[in-house]
C-alpha cells in the first residue's frame, strides 16, 4: 500500500511544481519593474550572464568549427567534393549546433550560477526580508535575471555560429587548401536567410527562455539548505540539457520536416 501512496504523492508534487513554475513565470513576466530601476539591474545581469559567458562560447565555437572542418574534409574529399564543407559547416552550425551547444553551455555556466545565487538568497532569507520591506523579489531579483538570460542566449548563439564558421574556414581554407571562393559560394547558395538563419535564431530564443526559466525557478523553489541548493543546481543543469535536446527535436521537426 505504501509504495502506491508514495507514487501518488510524487505525482501530485510534480504537478504542483509545474503549477508553481507557471505562476512564477507569470509573476516574473508581468512584474516588469520600473524602467529607471529595472534597466540598470538588467544591464548588470546581462553583463554576468552574457558578457562573462563569451569566453567559453567563443572557445567552444572555434573548436567545434575546426573539428567540423576537419571531419567534413576527410569525408568529403573521398568524393572529390571537399568544396562543399562550407555549406556543411554553415548549415550544421546555424541550424543545430549553434543554438543547442550554446544553450547547453549557458545552462552549465550561467544557469547553475543563477540557481545557486537565488537559492542562497533564499537560504539566507534575503528574499523574505525583501518581502518584509515591501519589495517584490519576483520584480527585483527574478525579472531582471530572467530577461537577461532570454536576451543573452540568442546573441551568444549568433556569435557561436560566426566563430564556428570562421574556425571551419581556418581549417578548410587556410590549412587544407579548399578554394576560398567555392567555400563561400557553396555556403551562400545553400544557406537561406529566412529558413536557416532565422529558424536558428528562433530556436535559440526558445532555448534561452526555457534554460533561464528552469534556472531561476529551481533557485526560487529550492529547499533552503546547503543540500537543497546543491540538488537544485544539479537539477538546473540536468533539466535544462534535457529540455534543450528534446525541444530541439520538436522544433527541427516543425521547421525542417516535410509534414
Amino acid at each position: 500500500m505504501q509504495p502506491l501512496v508514495d507514487l501518488g504523492r510524487r505525482g501530485r508534487e510534480l504537478i504542483e511544481s509545474f503549477g508553481r513554475s507557471g505562476q512564477f513565470l507569470f509573476g516574473a513576466l508581468a512584474g516588469m519593474p520600473d524602467p529607471r530601476v529595472g534597466f540598470p539591474l538588467l544591464i548588470k545581469q546581462l553583463y554576468f550572464l552574457g558578457v562573462l559567458s563569451l569566453a567559453i562560447i567563443v572557445v567552444s565555437g572555434l573548436f567545434i568549427g575546426m573539428v567540423l572542418g576537419l571531419q567534413g574534409y576527410t569525408i568529403l574529399s573521398d568524393y572529390g567534393s571537399e568544396a562543399a564543407i562550407g555549406q556543411m559547416i554553415a548549415l550544421t552550425l546555424v541550424r543545430e549546433l549553434g543554438p543547442v551547444v550554446t544553450a547547453l553551455l549557458f545552462a552549465g555556466r550561467a544557469g547553475s550560477a543563477l540557481t545557486a545565487e537565488i537559492g542562497l538568497m533564499k537560504a539566507t532569507e534575503q528574499l523574505s526580508s525583501m518581502e518584509m520591506m515591501g519589495v517584490d523579489p519576483l520584480r527585483r531579483v527574478i525579472a531582471p535575471r530572467f530577461w537577461a538570460g532570454f536576451l543573452a542566449v540568442p546573441v551568444l548563439a549568433a556569435i557561436f555560429s560566426v566563430v564556428g564558421i570562421w574556425g571551419g574556414m581556418l581549417v578548410g581554407v587556410e590549412w587544407l587548401g579548399v578554394f576560398e571562393g567555392s567555400f563561400w559560394g557553396n555556403m551562400q547558395s545553400s544557406v537561406d536567410f529566412s529558413s536557416d538563419v532565422m529558424n536558428g535564431v528562433i530556436k535559440s530564443v526558445v532555448f534561452g527562455f526555457v534554460c533561464t526559466w528552469i534556472a531561476v525557478y529551481q533557485g526560487y523553489d529550492c529547499v533552503p539548505t546547503s543540500a537543497g541548493i546543491s540538488s537544485a543546481t544539479t537539477k538546473t543543469v540536468v533539466f535544462s540539457s534535457l529540455a534543450v535536446l528534446g525541444l530541439d527535436f520538436v522544433l527541427t521537426a516543425v521547421m525542417f520536416g516535410d509534414f
Binding site: K44, G50, I159, M187, Q188, S189, F193
Partner: protein
C-alpha cells in the same frame, strides 16, 4: 565606475551580437538587398525535372544569371513546370534558347543551363522556353544501354 564599465561591456556585447547576425545574413546566407528586386520571370516545362529544387542556380555560359523560384507539376500535361527568376540585367536571351537540366560534377546538385539560340527577338517577362532538355537519368541511361535501345 563599475556600473559604467558594465554598461560599456554589455553595449559591446549587443553590438557584437548584431554584427554576428549581420555576418550570418550577408556573408553566410548571401542575402543581398538587390537579390529579389530586379529580376524577371521565365517558365520552362520539363518531362523530368530530376532533383531540381527551388533556389538552384540558372546559368548561361557558366555564369549564374538567376535562380529557380519553384518547381510544380502541370496537371494538364503532367510535366514539371519550373519558375525561373532571371536577373534583369540579362534581358536579351534569344527566344529560341533552350533550357537544359545539368548536374554540376558527378554528384553535385542539378541546375539549369541556358543554351543560347540565334533568334533576333528575346524572351520577355512571363515567357516560356520553347525547347527544353530533361535531367539526365543515369539509371535510365544504363538500362537503355543494357537493353540495346
Amino acid at each position: 565606475m563599475a556600473q559604467r564599465t558594465a554598461d560599456l561591456m554589455v553595449g559591446l556585447f549587443m553590438v557584437v551580437g548584431i554584427a554576428a547576425l549581420l555576418f550570418l545574413a550577408l556573408q553566410v546566407s548571401g542575402l543581398s538587398p538587390k537579390s529579389s528586386g530586379d529580376s524577371y520571370t521565365l517558365y520552362a516545362n520539363f518531362n523530368d525535372a530530376g532533383s531540381l529544387s527551388s533556389r538552384a542556380k540558372v546559368s548561361m555560359a557558366g555564369v549564374t544569371i538567376g535562380s529557380i523560384r519553384e518547381v510544380t507539376l502541370n496537371r494538364e500535361t503532367f510535366q514539371a513546370r519550373v519558375v525561373i527568376d532571371v536577373s534583369a540585367s540579362v534581358d536579351n536571351i534569344p527566344a529560341d534558347s533552350a533550357a537544359i537540366i545539368r548536374t554540376s560534377g558527378l554528384l553535385g546538385e542539378q541546375y539549369i543551363d541556358i543554351s543560347v539560340g540565334g533568334d533576333m527577338t528575346s524572351l520577355a517577362d512571363g515567357d516560356t522556353f520553347y525547347t527544353t532538355q530533361s535531367a539526365m537519368n543515369l539509371e535510365r541511361l544504363i538500362s537503355n544501354f543494357a537493353s540495346g535501345q
